[in-house]
Amino acid sequence: MIKVLVFLAVTFTSQSVFAAVLSEAKGEIILTVTGNISHTNGASNAQFDLAMLQAMPQTTIKTETPWTEGIHEFTGPKIQDLLQLLAADGNYIEATALNGYKVTIPMQDVIRHSIILALKHNGKILSVRRRGPSWVIYPWSDMELSRDHKYYTRSIWQVKSLNIL
C-alpha cells in the first residue's frame, strides 16, 4: 500500500491580499467561478488566469490514479482555499469541463479530502492536450476513495468553470 503523501507548498504571497481585493485577470482566463460567492472581479463572477491560481498556496498530491500507471505528482491550489478566497458559501460545486461534461462535487469532499485543482502534472503545466488547464484531483491512494466508484466520476479534468450552489 502506498502511503499518501501530502506536501504543502506554501507560497509567501499573503492570502489576505486576495481577500481584500480580487485583482483583474490579465492573461487568458482559464477558470470562471459563479454562484454564491462574495468576492468577484467580473460581472457577478470571478475570473482567474493561470498566474492568479498559481499565486495561491500550492498543494502537491502524490498518488496513483485510475487513468494512469504508477505514482504521479499533481500540484495546484486547494479548492477549499479558492472558495475561502471568494468567501463562497454553498453545499455543492458544479464543475464544467471544456467539452461540456458536468459533475457535482459535494462540499464535504472539499473539506474532508483536501482536493485540489491541479495545474501541474509531474511538474509541467497542464495543457488541454494533457487534460488541462485544470484537473480536480483526489488523493486516490486513500483506500476509502479508491474503493468507491463515485469519486472517479467527480475527478473532472479540463475544468472550465465552477458554479457554487
Binding site: V128, R129, R130
Partner: protein, 1017 residues
C-alpha cells in the same frame, strides 16, 4: 468386526477426498468468476469509446464550421476541440485504458493508428482557415479513417464483452453443478457414516450387556465370600478383645486370681497374684503344678514353722482345692489374711479368686479399741456418759445425770431422749428438733448445746457430744456419747456479748490491744469508718501497723498530715496524755484516750470532736467577719465602757488619730480622741439613760480647715457591763455643698429679679432720654425753623436765649441728665444680660485668641482711664497646644475676660503690688469635654466673706462711684446661664486670686435644638 471398522474408515477417507476435490474445484470456479467480474467491473471501454467518438466528431464539426466560415466558431475553438480530442489519446494519461484496449481485437492497432493520425492532423489544424479546402479535405479524410477504425474497435469491444458474459454464465453454471455434486456427496457420505455408526453402536450395546451380567455375577460371588471372611474376622477380634479385657480386668483387679486345670496346673494367674507371691515368682508359670508353688512358699517361709506345720498348711490348701470351698480363709505367710472363693468347672479346671481382708480385720480391731478409748475419754471430761441402741433408746447412762435432771439413770434406760422428759425436766423450745435431725442423719456431733429446765425449774445448758456406732458389717447399731453441764460458762459468754454489743453501739472508736500489743478488739463504729472502702485493719495486727493503716486512710480521706502526727501518736501509745487531740484535716479532730489494763493490755477510746471544734471556729470566723465590717466602714466607730475607756476602735478611728487599737485599748477617750471633750457629758448621759443621742454638724478645725461631723452615741450593754458606741461621720463635704447650692439658688433669684427690674426701668428711661435729647435739640438748634419761629413769636432772639441758658447752667444740667441717663442705660443693659434671652449666635472659637484680644483691649482701656502702665504687669501664658475650638459667643466671653482682668489689675494697683503678674492658663479636659480657663493674679486676694458674695449683683468692694458691682455678676450669668459653664473663684488673702472658667465644648446645649428649629422655619 475388525473388517467392518476398516470399511467405515475407508469410506470416510474416500468421502473426505471427494469432498476436498469438489471444494477445491468450487473455489477455483469462484475465483475465475471473480476475475471475470473484476475485468468487467473496471472502467468500461464503452465510456472511453463513446467519449473518444464524441470528441472526434466534435472536432470534425468545429473544423468543418471553420472551413465553411460558419459564424461563432473561432480558430481557437477548433484548436481547443482538437486538443480535447488529442488529450483522449495521450500515452501517459491512458494507462489502464491502454491495457484494456490492447485486450480487444484491433485495439492496439487502432490506438497506435490514431496517435499517428493525430500527429498528421496537428499541422493541418494549425493552418486550417476558412475555405482552405485542401487542409480540410485532408482532415476530413484522416478523421473518417479514424472514425471507421474506432467504430470497428467499438464492435470488437462489444463482442469481447459478450464473450466475457458468456464465459461468466458458463462458469456460474459449472459452479452450480459442482456445488450440487459436493452437497450430494456430503449427504451420502454423512448418511453412510451415521448408519454404520448406529449399527456398530447396537452391536457394542449387546456385547456390553453380556459383559456386565458376567461382571455382576462375579462381583456378587466375591462380595459374599468377602462378607463371610469379614464376619469371621470380627468374631475373632471380638473374642480376642473380650479375652484381653478379661485378662486386663483380672490384672487390674486387687483381688488375687488364678486358674488351674484338672491336674492342678496353672493356666492363668493375674498381676495381683504375681505381686503377692513376688518371693516365689520362679515357681509360678503357666503349666507349672500348683503344689510346686505351695512347696516353694513353704520353703521360703524360713524357720517360723516346723516341717509338720508346713505340710499341714500345704495339706490344708490342697484340701481346700479339692473341696472347692466357697469361702476359704487362709493366712499367708506374709501375714496377710486372704479369703478365697474357689469354683471347679465342668472340665475339672478350678478358678480361684482371693481377697486381701487384712485391712478389714485391722479396722474391726481398731473400732473395738476406739470404742473403749472413747468411753474412757468421755468419762474424763464429761459429767455423764450414755449409750443408745439402733432405735436411739438409752441402753446405758451413768454419772451425774441425776444431779442435773433430778432423775436416776434407770429412768432413762429403754427410752428415747424425748420419752425420757418429764413435766419438770423438759427441753427448751427448739432444742429437741435439732438433736433429732443430727442423730437421724447418723452424724457425729460435738458440744451441741441444748437448754433444759432443771427439776427445780431453773434453766440449765447442757453440752452433748456423740458419735454413731457400727458393727463389723458396717450396720448402724446405735450412738455413744457424753454430756456436760455448761450453764455457768454460757452465762459468762452472754455477759461478754452484751458488753460487746454496748461498746459497738457507742459512737466512739474503741480498740483493745493485748499485752503483746496485738489488736484483739475493735468496735463496730471504728470498723465501719476505717474499713469502709477496703479492709484496712483486722484483728491480730500490731498497734503500729494499725496506726499506719489508719494514717493512710485519714490522709486519703481528710488530707491528714502524716509527717507531723504519725510519730507523735506512736510515742503517745502506752504513755497516756490527757486530752490528746489529733487533727485529721478538713476540720476534723479526734480526742484520744488510752487506759492501760491490769492484764498488760491497753484500751484506746477515740472521740470525734469535729463538730464542737467547728462551732468554736465558726464563732471566731464570725468575730473576724464583724471586725472586718466595722473596719471597712468609713465612719469612725469607738466603743467605750462606763468609765469612757476605749474598748473598740475601728480602722477609720486609727486612720484619723494614727493610734492603733492596741495602743488605744483601755485608755481614756479624751487622751486618744481629744475633740470629743465636749461630748463626754453626752456619752455619760447616753450610757446612764440608755438612750441614743445625736449631734449633727458639729464644728471642728483640722489643719486650719473648718470641718463638720455628725456624732451619734449608742448606749450598749455587753455581758452585763454598760458602755457606748460613738459614731462620727464627716459631713464637711455635704455641708459645703448645701451652702453652695443655697448660694447658687440665691444668685439665680437675684439675677431674675434684676433682669425683671431692668425691663421695667428701661421703658421710662427711654422716654426720659428721648425727652432730654429733644430738649437739648430745641434749645441749641439755631437752624431749626420751628425753634426760630418760636423765638420770633416770643420776641426773643436765639442768642439771648442761649445767653440765658448759659448763664443759668441749663444746658450743663440737661447734659448732666443725658449723661446720667446713659449711665443708667449701661446698668440696665448689663442687668438685661442676667436673663437668658439672647440673640447673638454662638460659634466655634479659639479661646487663646479671645483671651489675648481681651488682654490687649483691657491694657488700652486701662491705660487711658487710669494712666496705669498695664505693661508693668507680667503676663505668663500657659496654653495647651492642641486646644479644640469651643462653641461660645465671642463678644460675651471677651467681656467676661475683660471684667476679670480689669478687676485683677485694679486690685493689684490699689494694693500696690510690687511685681504684679497674671498667670493665664487654658486647658482642655477630654473626659468632661470642657475647656478650663484660669486667670490668676498675685494681688491682695479675697477674704472668705467677699469670696462668698463676689458674684452677687451690686456687691462691690470698690470706692463708691467707681464700680457698679455688676461686672462679675454679669460675667457669672454669661458663663452659667448663656454657656452652661461654671465660674469659680479661689483665693487666699494677700496671696493670690484665681478665677476659673469652665466652658463645655459644644456651648449651651439647651440652645441647640431651638436654633435648629428656627433654621428649619
Amino acid at each position: 468386526m475388525f473388517n467392518r471398522i476398516k470399511i467405515i474408515y475407508l469410506t470416510s477417507a474416500l468421502i473426505t477426498l471427494v469432498l476436498s476435490i469438489t471444494l477445491v474445484t468450487d473455489l477455483t470456479k469462484i475465483k475465475n468468476l471473480q476475475n471475470i467480474q473484476k475485468t468487467d467491473a473496471q472502467l468500461s471501454l464503452v465510456w472511453f469509446l463513446n467519449q473518444a467518438d464524441r470528441e472526434a466528431r466534435n472536432f470534425l464539426q468545429h473544423a468543418s464550421y471553420l472551413y465553411m466560415g460558419h459564424q461563432g466558431v473561432s480558430r481557437q475553438q477548433v484548436i481547443t476541440s482538437f486538443d480535447i480530442f488529442w488529450s483522449r489519446y495521450d500515452a501517459q494519461l491512458m494507462g489502464r485504458i491502454n491495457r484494456k484496449l490492447f485486450a480487444v481485437d484491433t485495439g492496439r492497432e487502432t490506438v497506435e493508428f490514431t496517435r499517428k493520425t493525430l500527429f498528421q492532423l496537428d499541422p493541418l489544424v494549425q493552418k486550417l482557415e476558412t475555405g482552405d479546402s485542401q487542409s480540410f479535405q485532408l482532415i476530413n479524410q484522416l478523421m473518417t479513417t479514424h472514425l471507421q477504425s474506432l467504430y470497428a474497435l467499438s464492435i470488437n469491444a462489444i463482442q469481447l464483452r459478450s464473450a466475457i458474459r458468456v464465459q461468466r454464465h458458463s462458469t456460474i453454471d459449472e459452479l452450480y453443478f459442482h456445488l450440487l455434486i459436493t452437497l450430494v456427496s456430503l449427504f451420502a457420505g454423512g448418511f453412510m457414516i451415521i448408519a454404520l455408526f448406529i449399527k456398530k453402536g447396537n452391536e457394542l450395546t449387546v456385547q456390553n450387556l453380556i459383559f456386565e451380567q458376567r461382571v455382576n455375577q462375579r462381583t456378587a460371588e466375591l462380595y459374599k465370600s468377602n462378607q463371610s471372611l469379614l464376619f469371621e474376622a470380627q468374631v475373632r477380634k471380638k473374642s480376642e478383645q473380650r479375652s484381653q479385657q478379661l485378662i486386663s480386668a483380672f490384672d487390674q483387679s486387687t483381688e488375687v486370681v488364678f486358674f488351674l486345670d484338672a491336674n492342678n496346673q496353672f493356666i492363668f494367674f493375674n498381676e495381683s497374684f504375681k505381686k503377692t507371691n513376688a518371693a516365689v515368682i520362679e515357681s509360678i508359670a503357666i503349666g507349672a503344678p500348683f503344689e510346686t508353688y505351695l512347696n516353694a512358699v513353704m520353703q521360703g517361709s524360713g524357720a517360723n514353722l516346723n516341717s509338720s506345720e508346713k505340710n499341714q498348711w500345704i495339706e490344708h490348701w490342697l484340701l481346700g482345692l479339692r473341696n472347692s470351698e466357697e469361702f476359704f480363709e487362709v493366712e499367708q505367710l506374709t501375714g496377710q489374711q486372704f479369703i478365697f472363693n474357689m469354683k471347679r468347672l465342668q472340665d475339672g479346671s478350678v478358678i480361684t479368686i482371693g481377697s486381701d481382708i487384712s485391712a478389714l480385720k485391722e479396722s474391726q480391731h481398731a473400732l473395738a479399741m476406739s470404742e473403749s478409748r472413747f468411753r474412757d475419754f468421755a468419762l474424763i471430761g464429761a459429767d455423764w456418759y450414755w449409750e443408745m441402741d439402733a432405735e436411739l433408746k438409752f441402753t446405758y447412762i451413768t454419772g451425774n445425770v441425776e444431779k442435773i435432771s433430778g432423775l436416776p439413770p434407770e429412768h432413762y434406760i429403754g427410752k428415747t431422749r424425748s420419752q425420757s422428759y418429764t413435766d419438770k425436766f423438759l427441753p427448751h423450745t427448739g432444742s429437741e428438733q435439732d438433736e433429732l435431725r443430727q442423730m437421724n442423719n447418723r452424724e457425729e456431733f460435738n458440744d451441741y448445746e441444748i437448754k433444759t429446765h432443771k427439776a427445780d425449774g431453773s434453766l440449765v445448758t447442757i453440752s452433748l457430744s456423740g458419735e454413731p456406732r457400727y458393727d463389723r458389717q458396717g450396720n448402724f447399731i446405735g450412738y455413744i456419747g457424753a454430756g456436760r453441764d455448761v450453764t455457768e460458762r454460757c452465762l459468762v459468754e452472754e455477759l461478754d456479748k452484751r458488753l460487746i454489743a454496748a461498746v459497738n453501739s457507742l459512737n466512739l472508736f474503741v480498740t483493745i490491744f493485748d499485752d503483746q500489743d496485738k489488736l484483739i478488739f475493735f468496735n463496730r463504729k471504728f470498723g465501719e469508718v476505717v474499713n469502709r472502702d477496703m479492709r484496712n485493719i483486722e484483728l491480730g495486727m500490731s498497734f503500729e501497723n494499725m496506726w499506719r493503716s489508719c494514717s493512710e486512710y485519714y490522709t486519703q480521706e481528710f488530707g491528714f498530715d502524716t509527717k507531723k502526727w504519725f510519730a507523735k501518736r506512736l510515742a503517745m501509745h502506752r504513755n497516756p496524755v490527757d486530752d490528746f487531740v489529733l487533727p485529721l484535716g478538713e476540720n476534723r479532730y479526734l480526742k484520744i484516750f488510752e487506759q492501760l489494763l491490769d492484764d498488760g493490755g491497753v484500751i484506746i477510746i477515740a472521740t470525734d470532736i469535729s463538730e464542737s471544734t467547728k462551732a468554736g471556729q465558726e464563732i471566731h470566723r464570725l468575730r473576724n467577719y464583724l471586725a472586718n465590717i466595722i473596719d471597712s466602714m468609713s465612719s469612725i466607730l469607738i466603743g467605750v465602757d462606763q468609765q469612757c475607756r476605749i474598748t473598740q476602735w475601728n480602722f477609720a478611728a486609727q486612720k484619723e488619730t494614727s493610734i492603733s487599737l492596741e495602743e488605744a485599748y483601755q485608755r481614756e477617750l479624751i487622751d486618744v480622741f481629744p475633740r470629743l471633750q465636749t461630748q463626754l457629758s453626752n456619752i455619760s448621759a447616753a450610757i446612764i439613760k440608755r438612750r441614743e443621742s445625736s449631734h449633727l454638724k458639729s464644728l471642728y478645725f483640722q489643719a486650719g480647715e473648718v470641718c463638720y461631723e455628725d456624732i451619734t452615741i449608742y448606749p450598749l450593754i455587753t455581758s452585763g457591763e454598760s458602755g457606748a458606741v460613738i459614731r462620727l461621720d464627716n459631713v464637711t463635704e455635704q455641708v459645703l455643698l448645701s451652702e453652695m447650692m443655697i448660694q447658687s439658688e440665691k444668685m439665680l433669684s437675684v439675677g431674675g429679679l434684676a433682669a425683671g427690674m431692668a425691663h421695667e426701668i428701661n421703658n421710662p428711661l427711654a422716654g426720659m432720654m428721648q425727652t432730654a435729647n429733644v430738649m437739648l435739640n430745641r434749645l441749641t438748634g439755631y437752624t431749626v425753623p420751628a425753634n426760630l419761629q418760636a423765638c420770633e413769636d416770643a420776641a426773643i432772639s436765639m442768642q439771648s436765649l442761649q445767653q440765658y441758658m448759659k448763664d443759668r447752667g441749663i444746658l450743663r444740667m440737661v447734659n448732666s441728665i443725658i449723661e446720667s441717663g446713659n449711665r443708667v442705660a449701661v446698668i440696665v443693659d448689663n442687668m438685661l444680660n442676667f436673663s437668658r434671652q439672647n440673640d447673638t449666635q454662638s460659634s466655634e472659637q479659639d479661646l487663646a485668641d479671645l483671651l489675648d484680644k481681651a488682654l490687649e483691649l483691657s491694657s488700652t482701656d486701662y491705660n487711658l482711664k487710669n494712666n496705669f502702665d498695664f505693661k508693668s504687669i507680667q503676663i505668663t501664658r500657659d496654653y495647651q497646644v492642641d486646644m479644640p475650638g469651643i462653641v461660645c459667643e465671642p463678644g460675651k466671653i471677651q467681656q467676661v475676660f475683660l471684667n476679670i482682668l480689669r478687676n485683677g489689675a485694679q486690685a493689684m494697683q490699689e494694693a500696690n503690688v510690687q511685681a504684679p503678674m497674671f498667670v493665664l492658663r487654658i486647658k482642655y479636659d477630654r473626659e468632661a469635654e470642657e475647656a478650663l480657663i484660669e486667670i490668676e493674679d498675685n494681688g491682695p486676694g479675697l477674704d472668705e466673706g467677699v469670696k462668698r458674695r463676689i458674684f452677687e449683683p451690686f456687691f462691690t468692694t470698690k470706692k463708691e462711684g467707681r464700680g457698679t458691682g455688676l461686672g462679675l455678676s454679669v460675667s457669672y450669668f454669661i458663663i452659667t446661664e448663656n454657656h452652661s459653664g461654671k465660674l469659680l473663684v479661689d483665693s487666699i488673702l494677700n496671696k493670690y486670686c484665681k478665677f476659673t472658667i469652665c466652658l463645655p465644648k459644644m456651648g449651651n446645649r439647651e440652645k441647640i435644638p431651638t436654633r435648629a428649629a428656627a433654621n428649619v422655619h
